[in-house]
Homo-oligomer: 186 residues x 4
Amino acid sequence: MNDRPLPTKDRLIRVAAEMFRTRGYHGVGLSELLTAARAPKGSLYHHFPNGKSDLAIAAANWASDGLLRIIAASFEPAEGFTEGATTFCHKLAKLFDLSGKWDGCPISATLFEGPENEAFLTHARYLFDGWIDEVANHAERFGHPPEVARQMSEHLFLLLQGGWQLARARHDSDVLRRLPVHMSGG
Amino acid sequence: MNDRPLPTKDRLIRVAAEMFRTRGYHGVGLSELLTAARAPKGSLYHHFPNGKSDLAIAAANWASDGLLRIIAASFEPAEGFTEGATTFCHKLAKLFDLSGKWDGCPISATLFEGPENEAFLTHARYLFDGWIDEVANHAERFGHPPEVARQMSEHLFLLLQGGWQLARARHDSDVLRRLPVHMSGG
Amino acid sequence: MNDRPLPTKDRLIRVAAEMFRTRGYHGVGLSELLTAARAPKGSLYHHFPNGKSDLAIAAANWASDGLLRIIAASFEPAEGFTEGATTFCHKLAKLFDLSGKWDGCPISATLFEGPENEAFLTHARYLFDGWIDEVANHAERFGHPPEVARQMSEHLFLLLQGGWQLARARHDSDVLRRLPVHMSGG
Amino acid sequence: MNDRPLPTKDRLIRVAAEMFRTRGYHGVGLSELLTAARAPKGSLYHHFPNGKSDLAIAAANWASDGLLRIIAASFEPAEGFTEGATTFCHKLAKLFDLSGKWDGCPISATLFEGPENEAFLTHARYLFDGWIDEVANHAERFGHPPEVARQMSEHLFLLLQGGWQLARARHDSDVLRRLPVHMSGG
DNA sequence: AATGAATGAGCTTTCATTCAT
DNA sequence: AATGAATGAAAGCTCATTCAT
């Protein structure tokens, strides 16, 4: 990982995304975060005028963009929704394993316990819906009518959210890998 | 709510369960919690020698017991698994509405970001498995073979965990009420 | 050490003397002390109505009594002051080694930083003078005139107090064993 | 005392040295210390990242430097060791009187009961040895052979340490002033 | 004579943030 | 655009003590 040449702002976002995902918004102190990102004390408020909450939003956005890329990489080459969903689940399981089998959903862990709950939850909803819309689009592309497509996408979302939590408690990505079973009429 | 006559320890547990559920382990300060529970500063360590983390475990246990009671109340009078599961989802949706449409799963919100992550996650797993086992027992009682029963129970668990998070982001319990749709071959 | 059958009060005194000697009055918490003495929480104020400070006085007295016994055991069988003083230094060096090469003078460590400084220092002076008087008596018994005897005793006291501190900093009782060199016109 | 224009860090060190010397490491609370030094709460950890123990080391160092200056001022203009030692004792007696006849040795009172005993005692030994070396150098300068010089210096150190404790218990610097008597073949 | 539950003041430390440079 | 010194509120926790039994 050559994250050394990255500009300070990007280093902050990536480190924040990783730490918030693992320990939650309030579980991470800024001084620790700045140390980990090798960023000087005062530079945070230069890049993120509103401080920690701005950084959390940016970190959640960055994590969400990554997920959207994984969705694309899973569904675009697929020949049907089930194949795409299966690939998606396996990719996330691999990600979970790589991160040490500890991390939670980067969006909910970062935004669900913030201080300005209203704004944070609204943003979480926005990101969640973006994800669901994207998967629903793929489902439509595979020929499913809009309402059914949306229901399939939401079902996958619920399973992944729930599965992520269970995988975290078990330190085991197995439940994520087995999610497709639950989709096919399980 | 006449929570005045309750002993101090129980008042602490209930207030802790509510506050942790809404704002997470690190999002709640002990002085605020003690004020809300009308308990003196030093009494926390009398009842919970290890302090905040002991209290969090107790709060998660108490919340889990409540959920197990809701499971019993949902499945025992039912005539089949689907009916029981539907009742369960509706009861949780009502609970979510009553709590202000803000709260997360009381177990994951309390235990997933604590300081002693290993012990906390292990306990979360224990409580989750207790819940899944209980629902699986009901499924078996309704005639489903053990392996199928367990899969049905886990499917319900994943949907509820995921649904809870989505409901929270949306401030809307609708997704919880519509969960049974996803179970019947969605 | 069969300190199990000892009455609670004596167990408290001995444990207090040992802990205060090592870590100072304020460095020892009562709950820790009570645990170490296997005494129930409330029993301290039964035996020592004024609490921690009463216990500290008792512990210092007990330690002082022990020192007076060592003085007697050193000087009574001796045939001259120098022999008695040499034996005394070696006995204290052995005691220092046995206690782990960490402890300070049980009187000053216990009483010099207490909360009621005036009373504590007065008591320390009383115990110190008792020790000096006792050694001076032995010096007189060996034929030295009263004023000379007192000066010899005080000289020994100063060397032992200073030597104890240096031995503590060095974790080495050697300086205590070499004290007699300084007395004979060094 | 115009300690107002002093930088915050130096104010903290001086106040700490004075308070620790009088009441011991654990006998002094940080909030009280910060109030006395007119320093804001959070600034301590800016100047001393490891908090109270860092401050204690700095205070002991500052006190030790002061003592080394007194040693120089006592021995440099002297014409022999005895004269220098006598001046030194009288200067310390005067210091003791000025400080209110309460204080202990600033090094042992500060470092002997700290929480990280090993590191603190090691540092106390380092400061003690610096003091003994310095006085031994003066003794050599006056013509005494190295081994004798060292023994003379250590003898003076022991008497001063012991005398300081006795003077403290008696609220009387007289014993310090009479120390030279003990050196000349007492 | 003896107990342990209960108390609130105080402990050391970390927090997110501001500001002068 | 970038920095690090400075800040006071709040954090979690321990303290010596009291009290009802």
